[in-house]
Subunit: 272 residues, 4 copies
């Protein structure tokens, strides 16, 4: 009998924590989201020296309050889920664990308390909460487009890395240590800073030959920054295309999501 | 009788001030536009020290002349409009108020006179003036494209903010205060400067580990700068497409250039 | 009789100088192009102090040799062209004049000799020389795309300028002169440097509020840098599409603008 | 008889070294790839002073081990290939030679040992190794798109270079040597740094006129950075389109590369 009641309780907790299609489940998710945002804010503010000196106690209390919340939530998740092991080793399970573990570790090892910022990854959960809204389908188009572009992006990135290695080494030979190009890794770092058009200017060529090579690298970078954009644009256009409806009579594509008749054969369409 | 004449006067003022389809209405709009541009110019020039020292009186006179103009215009707008309250709390009404209010406030609180620069927002009125020209339809395509991309952009921006928070914190842990990463908010600021490829260089990583992480962030930024471009390109292509034909029966847009029937009401279409 | 011979000479010169469809005309154009490139190179090298000190005489001689060439060429052009006045006030005529005038002016006013660099504009003539090759048609597609985008770009640029004025003023109020924001024009310059993602770092915000506002500006810039790209992409796709021909028999697209027979059904095509 | 055995041996070596369709051939390629990566790593690490001081002997041994491997590989390639001269002067043959030659040259001329980094170019071989996977076809789309855009990119780049030369000279005249614009080549370098939105900030305008011209250049750069992106996007869309299959019965395009039946008419398709 007690076991039965226990089972019902577990099921109830499961529905509140894991699902978001009941009023209580939604409330839980929204509260959780705010706790995550606030806990990240407390970590961020703790690192500001003037703020830390004034409100050290408040920060400490808030910090441990959030850690307690996440620990309790994790315990409830393990308690209520059917296959605990599977949850623990899932992507979300590991993130949930990392959300409070660093806080306990920091008791023994100083300086690790900032690692709790991985809690930010929990914010990705927001996409799960909004499952029924338009956000996820948009996110899906993005994901499909990115996945389909993966191969092209790999080819592109390896070409860029080869280019950056060669030009970085050339700059090391041309400029030498006086202008800040103290070693090849630093020169490669400079080449990446340049080709991505970030351009800090902490290291910059001083000799005419170095400035010429840098100019060539920039013009090349100017040209090839177009490549990933072209890749993603095309894939995104295809993904958008792929999510379109089709007329069941004449197979012509339905462009307007609100169409009620096929634009080619005039047959009535079912609304999605 | 006086009331009647009053009403006619109000109507006349209304047509001149609010509309731009009469010669006088157009003249009013063009003069207003020039007043806005000149008043912004006077505020901008006032801030240049050498100019202020030489022409202080001229600036002051111009400043109060513009403020008087805008105050009078505001009074006339309230006087002539049918539903004054609705106008006052509308978007354009608030901007019109903000165009002269800071000037009066600056009599009591020094340093607030620069806030009159919000007058620049009044320049947006130029799009209303050019209502009948090609500009607005172009602006409409832009707006439609941006609106349709809003959901995708929200997903994109929240992912970027999560990424920037995590990498900013990591850099704070890796680099510490000596290289300028004095707190997590500053490190997040650095991460935004880097991922958007702005790259001021006021803060830049000095340690090998920091430079490696920065390189990874730049390469990631290089890849994902393509995403908003892809989003807007696709939406803009759709919006351009969408502005093509319209059904003559139900006014719904015809997306497919080869449609032979309206997708909304099923009426037969003439081919372009 | 002498007049007759004169006329024939003028015609011959005209064909050599203005046309490029004879062997001599082509040779003239290529030699001219090399003279332009070399004369620009001599101006550029003159500005390098170490080079000027060593080769001053050689530079001076080269400089006056090029000026003499361009002067003579200009005289021949005026002599041989039918309607001299029309040529003189045409776009190319003015550029041809500006190619040697500054050299003579610099005899009286020191420091103006660098203005001969406007000769670089003469390089645009290269597109005219290559008239019969593929380059010009490509350049036409670019021009069509840019022209069609002009309206959208105007709306876009005026929005960007309004944004930059407002944020520049806000930064001037927030940061003040200590961080380099010495006046509103300088702050607007900073905002342009930031929103275009150039980011020199000669001026950068120091206060938390300033860094927050800068972050917002960067994220906005990140989003709206996509807009001109989207505009040009769409217009370019349309221009490419628009320049395609179709076979009238089998409807298959004709990709090569010079094909005289349909590559699918072999029917003879009319040249566009 | 000995010649016969010799021929068989040469053929076997050829298959292992030049092909990658046997198990041994694949193993050879993978080992070679790792040797290339490790040898580049050793060169890169040698340039780091602290590392060089500690592990000088190990680096030297590794360096010569890699050089011996590549020399032996080169000898085997010449020995086994049919037409040795053709291989030696081919693109890959020259890269293979450059992979070990600088190491020997550095025995006589100090400072040239870093040139062995051209070994990185050998990594391009990876695309040949993966010939049968999806990578190469992706790389082909990229190459087709880039090749088709070549003409447009040439027109674009020559316009950019003309612009940069003229604005660089103007800045030299306006700003002069005090702000770092010491010569026209340096000013052109600055203009390239600005128009590509890299923006080091090692040279930046100080006078109001210079800052105004720089702002104009940045806004122009902002607009025309869209052009290469538009070009590549359109070409990439066309290349993607061109690599699509078509049903032989109804001519409808086959979007999914794995489909075995036409989605329109249901006819069986041959797999590519």
């Amino acid at each position: 009998m007690a076991k039965r009641r226990n089972d019902i309780l577990r099921k109830k907790i499961y529905i509140v924590i894991f699902r978001s299609d009941t009023a209580l489940g939604k409330l839980f998710d929204v509260v959780l989201l705010w706790l995550i945002v606030l806990s990240i804010l407390s970590v961020v503010l703790e690192s500001v020296e003037s703020f830390r000196n004034q409100h050290l106690l408040a920060i400490r209390i808030a910090e441990w309050f959030f850690t307690a919340c996440f620990t309790m939530e994790y315990a409830l998740r393990i308690y209520s889920v059917h296959r605990a092991r599977r949850y623990i080793f899932s992507f979300y399970g590991l993130i949930d664990l990392l959300a409070f573990l660093p806080a306990y570790v920091s008791l023994f090892f100083a300086g690790t308390q900032y690692l709790v910022v991985v809690r930010a990854l929990r914010l990705l959960r927001v996409f799960r909460i909004l499952k029924l809204t338009r956000f996820l389908s948009e996110s899906n188009i993005l994901r499909t487009a990115l996945k389909a572009s993966m191969y092209k992006i790999t080819v592109f990135l390896s070409s860029v890395l080869t280019l950056v290695t060669i030009i970085g080494t050339l700059m090391y030979v041309i400029e030498g240590g006086e202008s800040g190009f103290t070693s090849i890794p630093v020169s490669i770092y400079w080449a990446i800073v340049t080709i991505t058009t970030v351009g800090y200017g902490d290291i910059s060529p001083q000799s005419p030959a170095g400035q010429l090579l840098a100019s060539v690298l920039m013009i090349i970078g100017y040209g090839i920054i177009a490549v990933p954009t072209g890749i993603v644009s095309v894939e995104m256009a295809k993904a958008t295309e792929g999510s379109k409806r089709q007329c069941k009579m004449c197979q012509s594509p339905i462009y307007d999501p609100n169409s009620r008749f096929c634009s080619n054969c005039g047959v009535a369409l079912k609304l999605k």
